[in-house]
Symmetry: C3
Subunit: 440 residues, 3 copies
């Protein structure tokens, strides 16, 4: 579908990310509990994550950190004595956050606690009940249809008790205190694209950036969806003013074309940077206007914060049939897709890191590029201009009103070509950065 | 063509309006004279109209109120002694504002005073000569073609003398002194769509609003076209600053799709409100940019006033074959079309009345809707969001910069859904109106 | 392709321009030297051009005026004793700015100095080497392919010595000190469309305007490309603030559809004026966004000047196969195309000269046009409005915020109709110019 940008030395990133997905797949996660802790431990083996524990009952804006949920086992015993919907076989079988239960029920009562997906009769749906106490089982519609009348035994060996909400955070200091936020949710159980792919990509990105000098600081959040971002924002309100750009990382492992959901602002630098990258290298991508649903961008883009946070994914929230079902498994994601997504994120970061505003130091007429070795010698061929256009655009638009990304957008040239041209001109003292501060 | 919005108790509005059209059809109206007075008397039987009389000769901006015209009878006597173009059979037969005449003329001279419509040879055209004294007859082209040579007798028993220009006005006081202007012209003789339909709809709207508490005040004008709006504006210049929204009501009885001609401003709230309503419920409607021709919006939108007045009609000015001909009769309009137009006006008024700007009182992250009973309990189904989107949009955009109509526009949701969501959130103290004054 | 606007008395302009092209065709021009002087002498026979000589070595912004180049003869002698690539037969055969050379070379060495056009094997390309000393020959690819092995004699009898850069300038004083700049390049040797057509049209335009009273002053530049505009700008920096509108005149003699390359500003009055004219009368024209390549607009639109200078041509820079080849000859251009281009320039100048902002002196409601003889007498016909729309638009939009060109754009009426309407209204004292200064 798209061409790999090619980052030498990073060719095996896709395989590494896929391994992590595989490793994390069996774990039963939720918005709290040991599943998250185990997951963060595995991530910690690769990057120096700080793990935070926030006690149940802590008020976070309009919300309260809920009780901690853990589960050991669960199943339904049929009248014929068969165990079905066994947690040990697939953790999606249990309604996530089910309270403990062990009793006999009629088929009629059982049905009020069963969740199925009639449109895909062989798949098990993923369902949760975080904020209203309930118990339930998810199973394939075909199995649910064939249940005989009679008495059933339901058994859920879970706990829902005061404990903690757990999240991971890594901050990498760059030259500037201005930050790029990369946020992924870690609350989904055995679901690969949504969002083990996001955890794996975010981890690999952190590994990569930790080894480099960067202009921006980078903040990585591994948080339970909704309550996690609300908790982080409530505890770190003062830090949000440093967040200049951000992305919610999710659904980056499937084979679908890329989609970008813009920030609430709609024309923030992150929006322009991502769309520039997609336009220049990713065919068939979808540009999605902000809407107040989806993932944690909902919280980052709430009106009281209105951060410049978008979400770059492949198939997007709720838009693929396997979404929130047992079919979002290890077959749906691939090393190749993860690799391509990773390189797309690197391309975006490259734009952010290098998007500066320059001043043309020779603004009256063009400078003589030839005497500086920047220009073809024998003029007047139609083809020659192709190599020079990036130089000419940078000179023409470096009036202090256009950053390099705007020059790339107006010229139609790729950002990398514009960036190279600016660098060449800067070396010849034809350009200087408008402000030597970290950002424009 | 479109679905009726359904206003319980108003199902017979179409029939009522059609009756009024039928009642007013035979009357010969003009820009002055007894036809207007009789018409306003009939309207007055339904709503407490104030009738104003402005003397001929009164200067009104660049114009002067003309002499009053009245007519008793008119016809042409053929060489064979047959009466044709009889006023008593159809008042369109006389050139409106014809001076009195009674003499013998040759066919040649007669022809200089005949008006026909060759493109529709059986129809009688509607012609006027308000500001240049003239006499004339309008008749079907087929009849005009068959006139034999010889001497004709022309007889017009009219008067053109100092008198008055008559118009009707009704003001309904609302909570706010800011007004909605609804203006219709009452100068056309036996023409149903243009504009007995407008008179009937405006009357019914006034009846409806007079019974209700409204946010805005409403001003209804029943005026002769052009000279009437000029006269009103000249006499009420000081009141125009209160006019916040306005519509010229015309051509609302035929079966054509809706058309909306925008105000000169083009993006006024009335423009956005009407277009929102049409987009969400009226298929095949036409959006027409303002142009300085048409009906009284020409005067309301003259540069010295530039009021936010558009015109909401079905088939629009000059755009249907029956326009200004004897074919604009009782068959062209129907109770069904009038009903649908009436409900469309009510929908627009509903938007204006309820379009307020709110502030999200919990702007940092989303509030927990579930604990307030505003949210589905079992999360994570793709379908569930549909019911919640209006709530989420209102919360996300209630930053004081967006009114509800803008939220409806950006979200793609219908205004009524956005309004309901805002009301639900306000009841939960999650929202308060930005300013408690009457309007945003 | 397009309709001639018809300027009575100017019907032979095309023929006159074509004669000048024919007259100038044989001369070998370059960015300096006697070819330019002879060319300007011929132009001077028609218009009172001032010819300026700027010494080699003069610094002009980042550049230095180069040595002067002149040439008497050049050819290649084949092993068989045949003279090929003879300058006396076609001046394109010599690499423009070739240093003198006279020696024996092998075919292999010769080939390093040959330029051909394989895509058009019978055409001779046009090549230059102004700023890197070199010698070379241009010839048809088919001839170059057939050269036998052996020793060749190359002979170029040129001089490259301190001298001058020559350019021509004509300033016509108008009512206002604000200027329209018309600039053409005079450095191309035997190439007709690019740019003898431009020289001819600019000359004819200067003749035309010299005979008339104009609102604007007009400045005509006949300059070598790039170094010429840089030199002029360096010597006349203070004058540039008077340049309100400008066009680079080039490629106006071929049969292609018109193209307009916008100024860097993109929405300057000159951009809107040219596009209005093309939209209303020239089918199939192309609208080209500014890019920092092409002709002297590169310099005029450099960020330190950012002048409102576009380029109006037919086939545009590099976009026709004959561009910069021997096929850009007297057959490529025609009197008809030159005539049409000339009239298009006149149309644009007409818009600029007449584009004023007026104030409606009767802004409250429409004035009564009928009593001033500006209106049809018998109202109410659908057709009548057509004649009146321009009057109504001018009245409606003459609020001091719209110039006539904006009124033409918004109304969809042709500028000439809007201008006529404004003139009629001004005569009736319904309109006055907003500011009686020269320009809006």
């Amino acid at each position: 579908m798209s061409n790999f940008s090619g980052y030498p030395g990073l060719e095996d990133a896709g395989e590494t990310m896929y391994s992590l997905v595989k490793d994390l797949y069996p774990i039963c996660r939720s918005i709290t509990g040991n599943g998250v802790r185990v997951t963060l431990d595995r991530v910690k083996q690769r990057i120096p994550l700080a793990v935070h524990e926030v006690p149940s009952g802590t008020p976070v804006f309009d919300w309260v950190v809920p009780k901690e949920w853990n589960i050991k086992d669960a199943y339904v015993l049929t009248p014929g004595g068969e165990r079905i919907a066994e947690f040990s076989k697939h953790n999606l079988h249990v309604l996530n956050y089910s309270i403990p239960v062990h009793k006999k029920v009629t088929l009629e009562e059982l049905r009020r606690h069963l969740f199925t997906l009639p449109s895909h009769p062989e798949w098990v749906p993923y369902r949760t009940s975080y904020y209203k106490e309930n118990w339930g089982f998810c199973l394939s519609d075909s199995q649910a249809q064939s249940l005989p009348d009679g008495d059933y035994e339901v058994f859920i060996d879970s706990t829902l008790e005061p404990g903690h909400l757990t999240y991971g955070e890594l901050f990498i200091q760059g030259e500037s205190s201005e930050e790029v936020l990369l946020s992924c949710h870690v609350c989904h159980p055995s679901l690969c694209n949504d969002n083990l792919s996001g955890i794996a990509l975010t981890t690999r990105l952190a590994e990569y950036l930790a080894e480099r000098q960067t202009r921006y600081s980078y903040r990585f959040l591994f948080i339970p969806g909704t309550i996690g971002s609300i908790t982080w924002l409530a505890r770190n309100e003062g830090k949000t003013t440093n967040i200049k750009h951000g992305l919610v990382v999710t659904c980056v492992g499937d084979a679908g074309a890329f989609s970008y959901k813009k920030s609430r602002r709609g024309t923030a630098e992150i929006d322009r940077a991502v769309l520039h990258v997609l336009r220049h290298s990713r065919e068939g991508f979808r540009e999605i206007e902000f809407y107040p649903y989806g993932y944690d961008e909902r919280q980052y883009c709430s009106p009281g914060f209105n951060l410049a946070v978008g979400s770059l994914s492949r198939s997007s929230h709720g838009q693929y049939p396997e979404y929130h079902t047992s079919a979002d498994n290890l077959d749906l994601v691939s090393p190749e897709s993860l690799q391509e997504s990773f390189e797309t994120y690197l391309d975006v970061i490259n734009v952010l890191e290098n998007n500066r505003t320059y001043l043309n130091l020779n603004p009256k007429c063009e400078p003589q590029l030839g005497k500086r070795g920047l220009y073809g010698d024998v003029g007047a061929t139609a083809g020659a201009k192709l190599k020079e256009m990036a130089l000419l655009w940078v000179l023409n638009l470096s009036d202090g009103e256009h950053d390099l990304l705007q020059i790339a957008e107006r010229s139609g040239e790729a950002f990398a070509d514009i960036q190279n041209a600016a660098e060449a001109l800067r070396r010849c003292d034809l350009l200087k950065e408008k402000s030597d501060g970290a950002a424009v």
